[in-house]
Symmetry: C2
């Protein structure tokens, strides 16, 4: 069963996308594996305190993406393979890195300082680093 205990909704991004990315990143990280059972729309929505339709929207997109399989009346399961994971890994990391480097460049930071900041912040959770 796919574990949602570490999932927390945040402001600023649609919840259905947060669910989508949570599944995608879990698949790439290996914490979610092929064949894993997904909680039902109703159960997950109750667990997260959101509407079943919001969960359904995320699951529908994941099914269109070929990452999960749903049959009317039955439970839903992850359908992963090495190719899908590899492809997903590239697209997620590329978007992450490109987004950050673009933002940092617009803020006038050079590469050396960027690397220093990543290095300093990596192990922190809620520290007050000197920027």
């Amino acid at each position: 069963m796919v574990d949602f205990s570490s999932f927390k909704t945040e402001a600023g991004m649609p919840i259905y996308l947060q669910i989508l990315y949570f599944i995608e990143r879990g698949a790439v990280a290996g914490t979610i594996a092929d064949g894993d059972e997904l909680p039902s729309r109703r159960v997950l929505s109750a667990l997260l305190g959101i509407n079943p339709n919001t969960v359904q929207k995320a699951f529908r997109l994941l099914e269109e993406e070929g990452l999960i399989e749903s049959r009317s009346g039955a439970k839903s399961f992850m359908t992963l393979n090495a190719d899908k994971i590899s492809q997903l890994r590239v697209s997620l990391l590329t978007a992450d890195i490109r987004g950050l480097t673009g933002a940092l460049k617009r803020t006038g930071i050079d590469k050396a300082e960027a690397l220093r900041l990543i290095d300093a912040f990596w192990d922190e959770e809620a520290g007050d680093e000197e920027v």
Copy 2:
């Protein structure tokens, strides 16, 4: 005059926020300086192909933040000083770095690989790096 020639709207974020961040990052980077004149709401909206009200929303927030000064009937100007810029720099960079490290960790990447990716992607614009 604040230069918006490099500004392009993107999907996924409210346009008024994109304008807000563009000004903020320009102020931190030094490409926008204290006393710089801002284009009028009407002129900028025509230039960007968006609605004047969307520009006004961004400028209103910037004024509440104390980064610009507007007088009814007259033009608007940047009002920056070292303290404001320093404060802005910390908040922007902190949000950037925290966002990225969180995403990469959820994708199962370790620090060494993260630093390698940033280093490899920094000088690229639209390349096809091996991830």
